[in-house]
Amino acid sequence: AQSVAQPEDQVNVAEGNPLTVKCTYSVSGNPYLFWYVQYPNRGLQFLLKYITGDNLVKGSYGFEAEFNKSQTSFHLKKPSALVSDSALYFCAVRSGGNEKLTFGTGTRLTIIP
């Protein structure tokens, strides 16, 4: 069975500071990893994904994520946080040949002006 853990329910960061939202995963086979963002009363929006290749992937709105196979992690990062980054962030995993996408419990990111 595949699973995702987001160990922090809430992350607070001052505007302009770097931010990290943590994610670890468990899957059989090669993982496909995704980050989604959810703004209030909205659906999930895709941010970025890791499929293969370079361990550092870049996505929308200046976000990036680093895939670490030995630590089974896929942390979301941004060098300089904006107040508009405040939202709920979900990490998700899927393995090759399995179309089911498994989500973590989400991390609420609050950027403090």
Binding site: G96, E99, L101, F103
Partner: protein, 114 residues
């Protein structure tokens, strides 16, 4: 409009009533999914479908029924609603055969069972 559309956006129903949540996508994606979102649980998969007339259970299927007579529609029915089914429901779709592609989500349906 192109994309994935859920209806209604908001629904209040009484315990024991049957209610159907609609999902329609315009891309002809083969795979479609229903998730529920609850505080502390994130998104949990209820049912999914690989193609028309092919459906399978997810993590939390009890109390729900799905059908997929057409590729573009994937309705979710609560046969006899219970308060524990109060949640936000999301429909999603993925292109067939491209496991690397991201899922696309609808705007969600907020269901309250009183």
């Amino acid at each position: 409009d192109a994309g994935i559309t859920q209806s209604p956006r908001y629904k209040i129903t009484e315990t024991g009533r049957q209610v159907t949540l609609m999902c329609h996508q315009t891309w002809s994606h083969s795979y479609m999914f229903w998730y529920r979102q609850d505080l502390g649980h994130g998104l949990r998969l209820i049912y999914y479908s690989a193609a028309a007339d092919i459906t399978d259970k997810g993590e939390v299927p009890d109390g729900y029924v799905v059908s997929r007579s057409k590729t573009e529609n994937f309705p979710l029915t609560l046969e006899s609603a219970t308060r524990s089914q109060t949640s936000v429901y999301f429909c999603a779709s993925i292109i067939e055969g491209q496991g690397e592609t991201e899922a696309f989500f609808g705007q969600g349906t907020r269901l309250t069972v009183v």
